[in-house]
Amino acid sequence: MKKPFIVFCAVLGVKAQDAHEWIKYTDSQLRGDSSEATITMTVQNPNYTRTLEIKSYVQGKSQALSEILSPAKEKGIRTLRLDNKMWNYFPKMKRKIAVSSSMLLSSWMGSDFTNDDILKASKMSEDYNHKFIEDKTVGGETYKVIENTVKENTKAMWPKILTLMSKKDCLPRYYEYYDKENNLKRTLKLDNLKVFDNHQFFTEWKMIPTGETEKYTSLTYKDIKFNVKFPSDKFTQKSLTE
């Protein structure tokens, strides 16, 4: 299965100096036009482990719906995002609440991921400017490094993100998130590359806050389907409250 991507990398090689092309390629592989996934989230802390199972539906940049499948306490809670609007729905109470966009940047269910991460609200290729900087070696492997800086007038939690790209398959292995003071705050590590519906996709995502050794949140994709044709009412209020 690796052959086509070696070919692609060769094709990309023509534009090898264009960091934007690398990021666009990553977006196309990891996001696609639409996707449906079942994810296990594990919040690991020194004294406890918390596990949630989530169903996620994403279409384009602006439409996303997620539902918690377990544990029982949160089961059925849904989140719908349409453009910059977001609603939570609590089925046990039949309660729907609108949430402000500041909530997109807050922690999702006490994890190291934000609502924005879960709902895939930001699209790196559109929201950031990109340029190559000096290569970086991590764990004995040297990566091409792209510096992503947020575009003016774009709402994003992280003003700067470094993407460490594998030279083998032109896909990222690490994302490093920097705050306004240029401090590294967290690192996302991608692992276990597989192919689903002609998309290369990592099934293990691990977010590690800087300075923490025993604290992290991992996402394990149990399955993911790309280019899913959703019913026309999938990302609507009706679907949210079903």
């Binding site: 918390r50 609007k85 046990k92 109470m93 729907k96 500041s102 006490g110 009412d233 009706k238």
Partner: protein, 399 residues
């Protein structure tokens, strides 16, 4: 009709393709100290007391082939208080019992009854099917019949736009909603506009012997822009004509919302007057751990009800109020929340503090304390003198 719905429900598994059961059980114990003013002036002659409660919900959802669904929820509340009237809940001499088991009314608009209430010595049991619906979806519509939860409106402490469900932010139970008997038709007109029509009935005012009081109600949700959502309500409910609206403005960092509800004089009574309710609110996630909410408002006194209890049986014993609610995650497994409500006119101030500890994936403990921290001045709201000081612990399990 009363027996037909349960019969239909229990014969369903033959046609079902997905059955889902869920619920929660809670055990609560609390110690309550009486307000000195209540002892002196309102004949509430007790010093302190204990209250214990077992409370639970069992919910069932049955998806039926063809896109329709049955849903039910069985709520049981078994409680003990030495302040209960020994025989009849309606004759409780000590008014604090209304707070222990708030809301007393488990079904807000009640035709089918489907509930059982028993009082024996100091033990009281409420058992009710507070949800029991058949719902089907077709294209842009949804039709629901039975006993349903109706839950809308941004207000968490005061939510006048929705007369069908009492906010429970100020007490210590979870997953509680009041049932409403009737039919609902929802029309999803387009991406921006949803219309909810309700036709409900209520016999409870007449103790099931008299006529059914009807509710004819329209609730619309209109998305005016990315930032602004408008809700409106219009109809007749509990013998009053009502009209109102809500705006929700999503600013970059916060949400601002407001409600206005006008209630006419009673349709069939000469001696009555209109009522107004106003709410303004602000909600912001200050950072990843701290959530802030401010609600302020006004509810016009219903002067036709007995003095002191003239706020339409709502939990909030103030006419003008300001509430500040903070919720803070001090540890991923521990949340702390504190709400302060103050009566702008009298100065009466009430504190609600809670701390929730996650014990495991599906269990948690909550410590709570409710206390008046400032006495009100003036005699306008004697009910403020009834507010007790409570400390308690709730253990919860979810399944």
């Amino acid at each position: 009709m009363k027996y037909l719905l349960p019969l239909l429900f229990f014969s369903l598994p033959a046609f079902a393709f997905k059955v889902d059961l869920s619920g929660n059980i809670e055990a609560q114990g609390r110690k309550t100290w009486n307000n000195e003013d209540a002892k002196k002036e309102l004949f509430q002659d007790w010093d302190n007391s204990e209250f214990y409660m077992l409370y639970g919900n069992l919910g069932a959802k049955v998806d039926v082939k063809g896109g329709s669904r049955f849903e039910a929820n069985w709520l049981v509340r078994h409680s003990y208080s030495e302040l209960y009237s020994p025989e009849n809940p309606a004759q409780d001499e000590y008014l604090v019992t209304n707070v222990f088991t708030f809301p007393r009314t488990l079904v807000a608009r009640d035709i089918f009854k489907l509930q059982y209430e028993k009082q024996e010595n100091n033990y009281r049991t409420d058992s009710v099917l507070n949800k029991f619906i058949y719902q089907w979806n077709f294209e842009e519509h949804r039709f629901t019949i039975g006993r349903m939860f109706i839950n809308y409106g941004q207000g968490e402490i005061f939510n006048p736009l929705n007369p069908f469900n009492q906010p429970t932010a100020l007490n210590s139970i979870t997953n509680f909603a009041q049932g409403n008997d009737g039919v609902n038709f929802t029309f999803y007109a387009n991406d921006k506009h949803t219309l909810n029509f309700y036709f409900l009935g209520d016999k409870s005012i007449e103790n099931y012997e008299g006529q059914i009081d009807k509710t004819v109600w329209l609730h619309g949700e209109y998305s005016y822009s990315e930032q602004l959502q408008l809700d409106y309500v219009l109809g007749e409910d509990q013998n009053r004509h009502k009209i109102g609206g809500q705006f929700t403005y999503l600013a970059d960092e916060a949400m601002i919302f407001g409600q206005l509800l006008y209630q006419s004089d009673y349709v069939n009574m000469k001696k009555s007057h209109n009522l107004w309710d106003i709410l303004l609110g602000y909600d912001e996630q200050m950072n990843s751990k701290w959530h802030l909410r401010i609600e302020g408002g006004y509810q016009k006194r219903n002067r036709m009800q007995p003095e002191g209890f003239n706020l339409n049986n709502r939990f909030l014993p103030t006419e003008y109020f300001l509430a500040i609610a903070n919720k803070y995650e001090i540890h991923p497994l521990v949340n702390l929340s504190g709400t302060i409500i103050t009566d702008i006119k009298s100065g009466f101030t009430y504190l609600v503090a809670k701390s929730t500890f996650s014990l495991s994936h599906n269990t948690e403990a909550e410590l709570f304390a409710f206390s008046p921290i400032s006495k009100g001045e003036g005699e306008e709201f004697p009910v403020q003198k009834l507010v007790t000081t409570d400390v308690g612990l709730t253990l919860r399990a979810f399944f």
